[in-house]
């Protein structure tokens, strides 16, 4: 077996065993981390593979969280229905936003996505009747796996739902970036002008990957709402979009699995530091700045470079 396969197999075995090894608090931390990792991975699809930096990705996570919370709370549907609703709502909103944003490139795209996300955040904040305003929606239940199926209220059961979603999303994501469609995205990232001069219009590709990334971000948000039991405007705030960017860079841009590791690093730093100081963001920010200056490839990129050298 090649080295990446060994790693993949080891990771899958570890994911399957840990729920019986870890304490309750640690398992909850791991679940949290996987959800953040899925969110960061979805951002990597547009950022790492297509070269479009979105500064408003949290909006789609938030839309997923709200849709899932409403479906579970008001209609008591099984969790997968809520996940589907979350992903679809996020994807649906991403269509018009992406249509506008992909008219611009580079920096303009980043600014536009931020502006649209702040707009969606404001809507979530102001639309009290539906979203509960700044209080958000609390008491979101973890329902069952399917109609009349096993309950997902135990932390271990819900962990497996999350881990399953993350593994599946990574597989689908890998399939996307290795497909002809994914190759086209990477061609756009490398040289958009040449792509255009070869007779292809990059915009439908960009819009498509923007919507796909939003679907995955919505899925992550839809997992988040029942896991934490709430959805609130904070999960749509720009800070969260920025944190996803940090996870992608620290883990390794354009590697899909790197952002999941980046999320792990980010949350572990936060977890360790926050017991010493409430101002942990200063240190996380500093670590991030050091990564940007000295290790732009992140954990995975740097490890690969060192591996290729040695």
């Amino acid at each position: 077996m090649s080295a990446p396969r060994v790693w993949t197999a080891a990771a899958l075995v570890a994911l399957a065993i840990v729920p019986w090894v870890l304490a309750r608090h640690q398992l909850s931390l791991l679940t949290d981390l996987l959800i953040a990792g899925l969110f960061a991975m979805s951002l990597d699809l547009i950022m790492g593979y297509t070269g479009m930096v979105s500064f408003g990705h949290a909006a789609y996570f938030g839309l997923g969280a709200y849709a899932s919370a409403l479906v579970l709370l008001h209609w008591a549907q099984p969790v997968p229905v809520a996940l589907l609703a979350g992903a679809l709502l996020a994807g649906a909103v991403a269509v018009p936003v992406g249509w506008f944003s992909t008219r611009a490139t580079g920096i303009y795209f980043a600014m536009l996505t931020l502006a649209f996300a702040q707009f969606l955040y404001t809507v979530a904040y102001k639309w009290r009747d539906l979203t509960g305003g700044s209080d958000g929606i609390a008491g979101v239940p973890k329902t069952e796996l399917f109609w009349g199926g096993p309950s997902l209220t135990s932390p271990r059961a819900f962990y497996f739902v999350v881990a399953g979603c993350v593994v599946l999303s990574l597989l689908v994501g890998r399939g996307i970036v290795r497909s002809p469609f994914g190759r086209a995205l990477q061609a756009i990232r490398e040289n958009e002008r040449r792509f255009t001069s070869l007779g292809r219009d990059p915009r439908p590709f960009k819009l498509a990957v923007f919507v796909i990334a939003a679907l995955f971000a919505g899925l992550a948000g839809a997992l988040f709402a029942p896991f934490r039991g709430f959805a609130s405007p904070e999960v749509m705030f720009w800070v969260f979009s920025g944190q996803a960017l940090m996870m992608v860079i620290m883990g390794g841009i354009g590697t899909l699995v790197g952002p999941v590791l980046g999320a792990m690093l980010f949350i572990l730093i936060q977890e360790v530091l926050s017991s010493y100081t409430e101002h942990w963001m200063i240190f996380t920010g500093a670590v991030f700045v050091l990564f940007v200056i000295f290790a732009p490839g992140g954990l995975v990129g740097t490890a690969r470079r060192l591996g290729a050298r040695g």
Partner: protein, 286 residues
């Protein structure tokens, strides 16, 4: 009629503040090809340093003098210590670096000043309303209109009519050529970055008596400034001015005439302009 004049002045005051922030953002992009995400934090820093100066001296006016050099020096320091090393990378990395710096600065301000908003008193001279042909209007806001306009004209004249402005425009147009012709490009970048931060700081201290100095004012202003430069076009001072006027008008008139839809109007205007001119009104196609 009275209402119309009042709303017009309100729009101009909002545009004045927006211009102080977006002009620097646009200028830095023109010279360094960097979109400075931390720009809003320098605005916030201006408001907080202004608060400290007012608290120490008991006067408002010294703050207006002290803040720009302090904030500008900090900006120049950051440019030389971090940004300078990654100009050759894809532009994404510079945006991310300034984002990291913004986080560190914002959290540092929270450590230094605490989470509560800090009020800054209006200067005694501008505390009252002024009579404009039957309309009573707060004189401080009028001062902000004048300040924004003066700085706008000043920056424009500086760029167009002085030798330093000529060098800056040369670097903006083609930094390699300017370098060959003997311009000290590294110094121009540092000074322009510092000056832009100073302008943002001036905006912050001017805003403080109206909005108080609070955490989060940086991000709210940077989002507005992004909308301004998207409308006006990055790298163009005229574009910043036009964009500030449009956004200022959309925000204040929207809040007055259609309060429910105020937020939407700004984005609707931006969307409409983008459909026809994706590079902004005054921007150049990449």
């Amino acid at each position: 009629m009275a209402n119309v004049l009042e709303q017009l002045l309100n729009a101009l005051a909002a545009a004045g503040l927006l211009f102080l922030v977006s002009a620097g953002l646009s200028l830095v992009f023109g010279i360094l090809r960097v979109v400075n995400f931390a720009h809003g934090v320098f605005y916030m820093l201006g408001a907080y340093v202004g608060f400290t100066t007012v608290a120490l001296t008991g006067w408002f006016w010294p703050a207006l003098i002290v803040v720009p050099p302090v904030v500008g020096a900090l900006g120049a320091l950051l440019e030389t210590s971090t940004l300078r090393f990654i100009y050759r990378r894809p532009p994404i990395y510079q945006l991310l670096l300034t984002f990291g710096i913004a986080l560190i600065l914002e959290e540092s301000i929270r450590v230094l000043y605490g989470p509560t908003a800090k009020g800054v008193e209006l200067p005694a001279l501008l505390r009252d309303a002024i009579d404009l042909g039957g309309v009573l209007y707060p004189s401080y806001r009028l001062f902000v209109v004048v300040l924004g306009g003066t700085v706008g004209v000043g920056v424009w004249l500086f760029l167009r009519r002085t030798r330093a402005g000529l060098v800056i425009r040369a670097v903006a147009q083609n930094s390699e050529m300017a370098d060959c012709l003997g311009a000290d490009v590294a110094r121009v970048r540092t000074l322009v970055f510092g000056a832009a931060c100073a302008l943002a700081g001036l905006g912050g201290v001017a805003a403080a008596p109206m909005t108080t100095a609070y955490l989060g004012m940086g991000i709210s202003v940077i989002v507005d400034a992004f909308v301004v430069v998207v409308i006006g076009g990055l790298g163009s001072i005229g574009g910043s001015m036009a964009g500030s006027l449009i956004v200022g008008a959309a925000q204040t008139w929207g809040a007055f005439y259609l309060p429910e839809a105020a937020m939407v109007i700004m984005y609707a205007v931006m969307g409409a302009i983008l459909v026809f001119r994706p590079w902004g009104l005054f921007g150049e196609e990449e």
